[in-house]
């Protein structure tokens, strides 16, 4: 429930601002100059804010589309990402957003058309190269779709560029606009997954894994391509049994030709980010695991990471061609 909405003066009368405000009729609206006044302020308590986050409507003027970090990709030679939103309605304990921003408030950039222009520019500059765009690097791509309509908006652009891939990464059950649109071969609906008992401990406020699998099945049956993202892989008692059950359950639930790609990612935090997150949630079980600091990155020991990835890959390969399996090393 959003009680307060901060609105940048510049976009006060933007049609999308009015559209979003119409969804929160009882919210108190406060005009601001720049979203950074609220969002980037020092001395904010992330944990308190997360219990009652506010919404900030803003205009994004630069950095609309950025190159994805090395090691982030699903086969194409160039990868870019963009975020129409900062922060997430979910509260996953391994999420890097907890340590990245000082604020837990949600920022929505309403100038979607500027994202289109920037995306088209990047596509033009990379003509002849296979590229993938990732939506939802700084947020969940679809969790607030009913409020923003961003996916619906951006899909129209990608109908024009059928050889350019776009991935929506999500944990949500949001099916609109996909359930009502004709499937597009260049769109990947990617779902983050982990064994249910781990998810119920770590994926706070998210739909259950079983519900996510049901939505995937529905969308796959409509003809949409599905991405399976086991990222991060979480260690713990019986992890082999838990991941085996999960992988087999997912891979047996979906028509195999609907699977675009499967990726596995390790649990990793830059040291500074890890320090902020553990300060926020010192009692969190996740951080009691066999983590250590290697060259400024806090992660499971190399052997554990490798063992987990290989184990999961060996199961997946029985269902999915190796060329569709990736390791995310960001």
């Amino acid at each position: 429930m959003i009680e307060t909405i901060y609105i940048e003066e510049k976009i006060r009368n933007h049609p999308r601002t009015h559209f979003i405000l119409s969804k929160f009729k009882k919210a108190r609206c406060i005009e601001i100059d720049k979203y950074g006044e609220i969002f980037n302020k020092r001395n904010q308590n992330f944990r308190i804010q997360k219990s009652s986050p506010k919404l900030i409507l803003a205009h994004k003027s630069s950095g609309l589309v950025l190159p994805a970090p090395e090691g982030f990709g699903i086969g194409n030679s160039k990868n870019f990402y963009f975020s129409h939103m900062y922060n997430c309605i979910y509260d996953c304990r391994y999420c890097f957003l907890q340590g990245m921003y000082s604020s837990a408030n949600y920022v929505i950039f309403v100038n979607f058309d500027d994202f289109n222009a920037e995306l088209e520019k990047v596509i033009e500059e990379n003509k002849g190269t296979k590229i993938t765009f990732f939506s939802g690097y700084d947020c969940d791509s679809l969790a607030l779709e009913s409020v923003t309509g961003f996916a619906n908006h951006i899909l129209n652009l990608f109908r024009k560029y059928t050889d350019v891939d776009l991935e929506f990464r999500t944990k949500s059950l949001q099916q609109i606009p996909f359930i009502t649109s004709k499937p597009m071969k260049n769109i990947i609906l990617a779902y983050s997954l982990m064994p249910e008992i781990m998810s119920s401990a770590l994926d706070n406020k998210t739909p259950t894994i079983a519900k996510r699998i049901n939505v995937m099945k529905k969308l796959a049956s409509k003809g949409w391509s599905i991405g399976l993202r086991f990222d991060p892989l979480i260690h713990g008692k019986n992890w082999k049994v838990l991941y085996k059950d999960l992988l087999e359950s997912v891979l047996n639930s979906l028509p195999l030709n609907s699977i675009h790609s499967v990726s596995f990612g390790a649990l990793r935090f830059p040291k500074k980010m890890f320090k902020s997150i553990t300060k926020l949630y010192p009692e969190e079980k996740l951080f009691s695991g066999p983590l250590s600091n290697n060259d400024g990155i806090v992660s499971y020991d190399y052997e554990i990471e490798e063992e987990m990835t290989s184990f999961c890959k060996d199961i997946t390969i029985k269902y999915v061609d190796q060329s569709k399996i990736f390791k995310c090393s960001v």
């Binding site: 804010q49 008992i197 008692k237 009691s288």
Partner: protein, 294 residues
Amino acid sequence: MKNFFFGQIKLMNKKNKINNFSVRWVIALKEEAKTIINHYELRPVNENHLFPIFKNVDETHWLVLSGIGRHNAAAATSYLYSTSNVMQNTAWINIGIAGCGQGKYGDLCLVDKISKNFGQSRYPTTKPRTHLPKMNLFTSDVPINDYSSQELIDMEGIAFYDIVSKFTSNELICLMKVISDGPENNIKSLNRDKIINLIKSNINNIEEIVSYYEKLSQLDFLNNQKTYLFTQITSNWHFTVTQKYKLENLLRRIKVFLCDKNVLEIIKDCKKGNSVLNILNLKIKQSEVDWSNS
């Protein structure tokens, strides 16, 4: 084995749950403060000082009388900060009467935006899920009789906020105003008794808001406090500063696998701090998080 009193751990943990919150009040006039002083049973600390300070027996609530205006508010806030054992988890409250172009005489309002004649606005947070109205506050250097362009008007708010936000998080700062004058209620008709009554008639609402900040302050304290186990171990073995930091991390992690008593049991024969760290490290490496009992 070192001389530990296991029973005390439980007792200490229990004790720590009581009154670890910390609240500081900055109020301009003694008439505005009277009800707060009575309600929270505050006693004078330095009555004849330029900025009189009051506190309760537990020393969880401290209050300073700042006098009118931005400069007084800033100076009094700093003075209270330096004299009242302020902690990182201290919540700061400014309450007072205010003129208002809208709203109803006598209403208690929470402030979520503060501005002055020039410069950037400030955005304090407010208690969520409350029936109380939220308003913008304009801090003026001179009394204003033209209420038409503003919601709330005071003479201290922005200075209080600017100083306090230097030493606490935005979520622990609260500004509340009771509407005392406006187009329908002439400021000249305000007197001592009326001001006291304006605050007094809102004491239940004030208490509700203050108890929210007490809870936030308490939670923040519990989140950041050193555990009793840490204190026990560091008082029995010598650790360097870096080792203490490592110990704190290891104790945070080992809590998932062992209770305090068992931690003490496995380190009881250690001769040096370094061997305590090694044993804890080894135990964590050998343990696996059990997700089934989350």
